[in-house]
């Protein structure tokens, strides 16, 4: 769906230090209940063999998908993709708390706020965007890993970062005959082949880092969508998409994914 603005997050994985300033900032800014979170840093865990180890941290939150599975299932129309900003938002006045969208989101990005009986998730801090501020997580990001901006504006920080990137990866989801087309673009995502399909967030005790237990990488599948410079064997559809995507970037077209 073409929207006036096309807000997106660009996250440089190489810069994330898992400091969690973004997590705390989000909780405070959005008054998130203590037993929930709207934002996570996925820990890839140690890779390799001692002493040749590596470890990457992948921050994420609602991907504000272009083709959001969550809006499809919403019975009350409370969950919608905003026609101006392109953000996926929840009208909490209209939300009946049925939780269908929570189940439909492939990224586990939503939760039910029991105290209010409504669904909640990342809003890209619209209240801040309205007054010209960056989302709370982006503003405080100690590693400057998180960028945010309008991809329809070729001069935005996010557009420029994508334009200069060697490779861009999205945590795309294809299932039930649909492609979510998420709007978090990852830079420097390490080789993900070592991530086990059985990798879940379920083992972390609830009292600490809250993480959605439903979300598994096998479901979501890491795939590269725009790799103009790095030659990687990939399916024809992906390649076509990548070329299309790159072209958009280079041409800086206004209507990005029409």
């Amino acid at each position: 769906m073409a929207t006036k603005n096309h807000y997106a997050f660009v996250i440089d994985v190489a810069r994330c230090i898992d400091c969690r300033a973004c997590l705390v900032a989000c909780s405070v800014e959005n008054n998130v209940p203590m037993d929930h979170t709207r934002i996570w840093v996925y820990d890839q865990g140690l890779q390799g063999t001692w002493p040749d180890l590596s470890r990457a941290f992948v921050p994420y939150n609602c991907m504000h998908c272009d083709n959001p599975p969550c809006t499809e299932v919403c019975v009350s129309g409370a969950t919608y993709k905003d026609a101006t900003s392109g953000l996926v938002l929840v009208d909490q006045e209209a939300c009946i708390g049925c939780g269908y969208c929570v189940a439909a989101c492939p990224y586990g990005a939503r939760y039910i706020d029991q105290s209010r009986g409504v669904v909640d998730k990342c809003t890209a801090c619209v209240q801040r965007l309205e007054v010209g501020l960056q989302p709370a997580c982006v503003a405080t990001c100690v590693g400057k890993s998180r960028l945010f901006g309008d991809l329809n504006d070729p001069t935005s920080e996010a557009s420029l970062a994508l334009k200069n990137a060697m490779s861009v990866t999205r945590l795309d989801y294809e299932g039930n005959g649909m492609d979510a087309d998420p709007n978090i673009f990852y830079l420097n995502l390490p080789d993900t082949s070592s991530i086990k399909a059985s990798d879940t967030f379920g083992q972390v005790p609830q009292s600490t880092l809250p993480r959605p237990s439903q979300y598994t990488l096998s479901e979501a599948g890491w795939k590269k969508v725009a790799i103009p410079l790095v030659a990687v064997a990939m399916g024809a559809t992906f390649l076509a998409q990548a070329i299309f995507f790159t072209k958009q970037l280079i041409e800086g077209e206004k209507d990005f994914e029409d």
Partner: protein, 727 residues
């Protein structure tokens, strides 16, 4: 007076309570309605009581600039001040969580007087007059019976320290404990001897090659420096990270070297050996600005990479290559001193070797600069008389045991040991301001023993922490968002901490408490200010800067002082002293020399400590927001070691050192050398008044054996060896 019996609240009942209320609430729901009266008077807020107030963070000692968002007279969000060099618009997780510390439901909001046995946690509420009268009366009685030196004073590095010092030196006691000997004494004494300054400033804007020795910058966060490091890595700088543990910083480094604990010195001596032997040093800088190069050259002749390889466990070829790369990077190279580098009895020579390494590649003026320091500079201060002459010896052995340790810094663990030993004399009272020696000092049992010898323990804090738990009188301090502090100049700027909200309950600023107590002790002349604002106005008087300007922006530019030559060092020779005549005179090695550090026996492990990015030492574990996002504190162990002991991940294990035992969950991880274990720091709180933190994790202070470096007075925090078995 109502009785507050905090010990009645067990962890279990709190958890039950928590499930229903506390843990389900968001921050906003905790917020009481205090008014930002001072800010409103200064027109920092609009007519609805909303707006931004500039102040300074105090969740750690880095002091980032903060812009606090206030809506309808409540503080709702903290932002990094973009104009402050320490925050540059950003705050770390701790800084972001700061309002939760202020609104912590466990805040102590009235003075408390102990009613049960010491350490039972039974207090009654008291008025300020009653509490301060009682404290003053008992302090004066100790003074008249045993002399002023029988009162011990201790406090952690903070902005009201000058007034704390007035209290203790005005009272006439020489006994002053800071936390620094538990942290970075080795670094600052080594720099003082080499460069004539405690800690030169590091600049990452041009750096190309960085060696971080145990400086875990992505977990021991100083916001701007951490950001700068990540920027330089992104820009292609090479980082060699030396640590027995694969930390988050190791994951960002180009190269990780899992060195054997206690051998950092050998590595650096080998670096110097190669750089000199292969003539990779900056001869012009060395000739013009340093002293003692020849002595260093001859003493490092034998410290070859081959020699260091057997000690460090790092291959000779790797050491040689790194030395060559470092030398080739020349002035664009930086060897980071670290704060607690090595943590061994040889930390001091290690820090000296790092300082020397920097000097010989001539990075001064490119990646290292003189630090502007924190001196009062052009700021004024209220008039005050000279301190009374103090003739009593200091209990911490400075300078009679430790001639090189600055008086302001001291040797805290020695102070505690002297209290226990009762030599050279017996102290009777201890005034502890926002400090937690129960958690910070090694050998917790001994600290508790020292408490039992006291007739009087007075503490000042915002929570009833582990030390306050053993206190006789607890004085409730206003949090950093509720009070003014003395101004602090940095470079050509001056920064302010000002109240964003009114203090909750009866909490008061340190400036107020010290003055009120000082007056009752007959020391009014040392506190010649009407109130906090008057104190700050007296500081500002010589600068001509109006307080309102400072309050509006959070910082102001000081009248320029004459820029000094950056190539002048306040050492005896005025040069960078690679060879130190001061050390030689005191019969210490004038250049760093290798000696073998102690090693664990078979079946024992080195006990490593460190930092996590979500907490500051042991001071923030009760913050519910940080608790929410912290990892479960565990003991890290390598898989091979765990296997040989029949242990698995998440087992509860018993860790035993020569001085104590703790139980904690195990984390089996490849991130460790097989001869080391690492205990997540800061946990294992004793105070049941810390309802979020109590009962979580274990404290390394129970395990740490007290070993003091004879030159810098630093505690060797990694020189404790432990055994581990299934609990």
């Amino acid at each position: 007076m109502p009785k507050t019996d905090v010990s009645q609240l067990s962890r279990r009942s709190f958890l039950k309570l928590g499930a229903a209320t506390a843990s389900a609430l968001a921050v906003g729901q905790f917020i009481a309605p205090p008014v930002a009266r001072a800010a409103r008077q200064a027109h920092l807020l609009d007519s609805n009581g909303s707006g931004y107030i500039s102040t300074m963070c105090e969740m750690c000692v880095w002091r980032c600039g903060v812009r606090a968002k206030v809506v309808e007279e409540k503080v709702v969000k903290l932002e990094g001040n973009p104009d402050h060099p320490h925050s540059k618009g950003k705050l770390c997780a701790r800084g972001q969580s700061g309002l939760m510390t202020t609104y912590d439901p466990d805040r102590v909001l009235t003075p408390l007087i102990r009613v049960g046995k010491r350490g039972e946690g039974k207090f009654r509420q008291a008025s300020w007059d009653e509490a301060l009268d009682l404290v003053a009366e008992q302090m004066l009685s100790i003074k008249s019976k045993y002399g002023p030196e029988a009162m011990v004073f201790s406090s952690t590095h903070n902005l009201s320290q000058p007034l704390f010092e007035n209290l203790l030196y005005g009272f006439g006691s020489p006994n002053y404990g800071t936390q620094r000997s538990l942290c970075f004494n080795a670094m600052i004494v080594a720099n003082s001897i080499t460069y004539g300054m405690e800690e030169p400033a590091r600049d990452y804007s041009q750096v190309k090659y960085i060696i971080l020795t145990g400086r875990n910058l992505t977990e021991a966060i100083s916001t701007s420096e951490t950001s700068d490091l990540i920027d330089s890595i992104s820009g292609g700088a090479k980082v060699v990270y030396i640590d027995p543990r694969f930390t988050k910083t190791a994951s960002k480094a180009t190269e990780w070297l899992p060195i054997r604990p206690g051998t950092d010195l050998a590595f650096h001596l080998a670096m110097i050996n190669v750089i000199i032997a292969e003539k990779l040093y900056d001869a012009a800088f060395v000739d013009k600005y340093t002293l003692g190069f020849d002595q260093v050259a001859s003493l490092t002749m034998s410290t070859t990479p081959e020699w260091a390889a057997t000690l460090t466990g790092i291959e000779a070829g790797t050491i040689r290559r790194i030395a060559e790369e470092f030398g080739a990077a020349g002035k664009y190279a930086l060897a980071h001193n670290g704060w607690r580098t090595s943590n061994f009895i040889n930390s001091f020579p290690t820090e000296r070797a790092i300082s020397i390494l920097n000097a010989v590649v001539g990075n001064w003026g490119t990646t290292m600069f003189p630090s502007s320091g924190e001196g009062a500079g052009v700021l004024g201060s209220p008039p005050q008389p000279a301190y009374p002459r103090i003739s009593a010896q200091r209990l911490d052995g400075v300078p009679w045991m430790y001639p090189f340790v600055p008086l302001k810094i001291g040797v805290f663990q020695q102070l505690r040991d002297s209290i226990v030993a009762g030599t050279p004399y017996e102290p009777h009272g201890w005034f502890i301001s926002r400090q937690n020696p129960v958690q910070s000092l090694p050998d917790r049992q001994k600290t508790l023993e020292a408490f039992q010898k006291m007739d009087l323990i007075v503490t000042m804090d915002i929570l009833v922490n582990d030390t306050d738990w053993f206190s006789d009188v607890v004085l409730p301090e206003a949090s950093y968002l509720e009070r003014y502090d003395p101004l602090v100049p940095m470079g050509n700027q001056v920064y302010i901490r000002q109240p964003v909200i009114e203090p909750q309950g009866e909490a008061k600023s340190a400036l107020w408490v010290y003055k009120e107590l000082g007056t009752r002790l007959g020391l009014a002349d040392f506190f010649q200010y009407k109130d906090e604002v008057d104190y700050i106005n007296q500081q500002l008087a010589p600068t001509g800067i109006p307080l309102e300007t400072l309050r509006l922006h959070g910082n102001a530019t000081l009248p320029t002082s004459t820029g000094s030559d950056i190539y002048e060092w306040s050492t005896p020779s005025g040069k960078v002293e690679l060879f130190s005549s001061l050390l030689e005179k005191a019969k210490f090695d004038p250049v760093p020399i290798w000696t073998d550090p102690p090693q664990p026996k078979a079946g024992e492990f080195y006990l490593l400590t460190g930092k996590v990015g979500q907490h500051t030492q042991f001071g923030t574990q009760n913050n519910q927001l940080l608790h929410k996002y912290q990892d479960v504190p565990r003991l890290w162990m390598a898989p091979e070691a765990a296997k040989s002991l029949g242990l698995s991940d998440w087992d509860t294990v018993q860790v035993t050192s020569p001085v104590g035992t703790v139980q904690v969950a195990l984390q089996v991880t490849d991130a460790m050398r097989t001869d080391c274990v690492y205990l997540t720091p800061g946990f294992g709180h004793l105070s049941m008044a810390l309802r979020t933190a109590y009962g979580v994790g274990a404290s390394d202070s129970v395990l740490h054996v007290t070993y003091t470096d004879p030159i810098s007075g630093g505690q060797a925090l990694s020189q404790t060896f432990v055994s581990v078995k299934k609990a």
